[in-house]
């Protein structure tokens, strides 16, 4: 990849040296990439604020050798999702999205569906009355496109069909297990109602932005959140960072209070 020109979402931007930045982005054509933008922090830098996290940009990179850090040659802003920067809660949710994509993907592994989910997820955050709900369906999509689709229709241990009864999600097995296998396995399992299983299945099928119309409330939301948290913790070896209390309090005015969304 000596020269790459692609759309990309900035996942992380870190200060480097006197006035440079090292960016991590998820690009449409080359997957996760890291590059250095020389002079990006200088007042008259041509990059300006384009390389800030969560921006969708048109990026041109030059890579001298496959092992060296690529150099940002050009960057143009396509979409800034500026509403995210106005609320700490939305910044926190966007940071969780970026952290998940950064952690679950390998370098230089393009994934068009995952790229579209990332753009769709960030775009949905700017308009949704329910940022936690967007994060929920985003996690389902990312797991699906990254090759970790949770098996919700049949038992991951014996392969039997689960039907419409309450089931058990086993994060260590990558999906549901049946009542019989649950008694023979020692790993932790999370109980899931048929509504929760149906929610995950529907969320997997619908693309962004249609999927954001799905609403999970009360028990369904709680069960799906717990199952996804446990599954992601198993895959990454570490949980996704929680939104700190100082940020969680700053929700956009149109957002539903957490209590009413879950009641």
């Amino acid at each position: 990849m000596p020269l790459l020109n692609s759309k990309a979402v900035i996942l992380h931007s870190q200060r480097w040296g006197e006035a440079d930045r090292i960016i991590t982005g998820f690009s449409q054509r080359a997957g996760k990439i890291r590059a250095i933008a020389y002079g990006a922090r200088k007042l008259k830098s041509r990059f300006g604020g384009v390389l800030e996290p969560f921006n969708l940009i048109q990026l041109t990179l030059f890579e001298r050798t496959p092992t060296s850090l690529a150099r940002v040659s050009q960057a143009e802003l396509l979409e800034s999702f500026s509403a995210i920067r106005e609320h700490l809660h939305l910044m926190g949710q966007a940071a969780r999205m970026a952290t998940l994509v950064k952690a679950i993907t390998a370098d230089h592994d393009p994934n068009e569906a995952l790229f579209q989910a990332l753009v769709g997820g960030l775009r949905a955050l700017t308009t949704t009355p329910d940022p936690q709900g967007v994060m929920l369906v985003f996690q389902i999509h990312v797991l699906d496109h990254a090759g970790f689709r949770p098996e919700m229709g049949s038992c991951t241990t014996c392969g039997s069909s689960l039907g419409t009864a309450r089931g058990w999600f086993a994060p260590w097995s990558g999906g549901m297990i049946c009542a019989q296998c649950r008694h023979t396995q020692s790993g932790p399992c999370l109980s899931m109602a048929p509504g929760s299983i149906a929610f995950v299945n529907q969320a997997k099928r619908l693309p962004f932005p249609v999927v954001t119309r799905l609403r999970a409330t009360g028990q369904v939301r709680r069960e799906v959140e717990e199952a996804l948290d446990a599954f992601i913790r198993t895959i990454l070896g570490t949980p996704l960072p929680e939104i700190a209390s100082w940020a969680a309090e700053d929700e956009p005015r149109y957002a539903l209070p957490v209590s009413s969304a879950r009641s």
Binding site: G48, E52, S80, S82, R85, E86, L88, I243
Partner: protein
């Protein structure tokens, strides 16, 4: 050049190369320069470094760098004590002081909130600022954190933290740098400068 001299030079080069913005070549050039100059001149530099490390501390009020309990700015009776300008680092404070654009007091946070890195209010000096405002006498707090995602998060948080005390909380303006051609400005700067436009005086 004997082994001992060489090792002292190598050691000096190694120390210099650790400084920001100094590469191997520059470090070597500086090391050879220091070797060539008078002993007194070289020792003055060594003494200045030692003095900085031994004498310079942080102002108990604003956390600016100082050699006494309070920095020169906090001690100056001519400063406007009703205004506090909040910056991330002492280097920003010095850049603003150099511009002579502000005559009030400062508050150095030593960082910025970061939802991506997990840096919270207890990691920066946000509550020291709150205590200064709570103590009274402050009419305006100007937030001059960097226009990055971290700087924005800090500005939002501080605004919510300080507004209940009845002070005016303002943010420095974004826009086109003076002397620059607008056609070369990036999209974000242009967008912000149009959003933050003001009526002509």
């Amino acid at each position: 050049m004997n082994d001992r001299t060489q090792s002292a030079l190598v050691r000096l080069t190694r120390e210099l190369v650790r400084l920001p913005g100094i590469g191997q070549k520059t470090a070597q050039r500086l090391a050879f320069h220091l070797m060539k100059v008078d002993k007194d001149e070289a020792l003055r530099l060594a003494q200045a470094i030692q003095d900085v490390k031994e004498r310079v501390t942080f102002c108990v009020q604003c956390r600016n760098m100082t050699e006494s309990t309070l920095c020169e700015i906090c001690q100056d009776p001519k400063r406007d004590r009703t205004k506090i300008l909040v910056v991330e680092e002492p280097s920003t404070l010095h850049a603003i002081e150099h511009s002579k654009a502000f005559n009030g007091l400062y508050h150095v946070l030593f960082g910025a909130l970061s939802p991506l890195e997990g840096v919270g209010p207890s990691d920066i000096r946000a509550h020291e600022l709150e205590n200064r405002v709570k103590a009274g006498g402050i009419e305006e707090v100007i937030i001059a954190t960097n226009p990055t995602i971290e700087g924005e998060a800090t500005a939002i948080y501080l605004t919510k933290l300080l507004r209940p005390y009845g002070v005016r909380v303002s943010r420095i303006a974004y826009g086109i740098p003076v002397g620059m051609d607008i056609e070369y400005a990036d999209e974000v700067t242009l967008l912000k400068s149009i959003e933050g436009r003001r009526e002509c005086p």
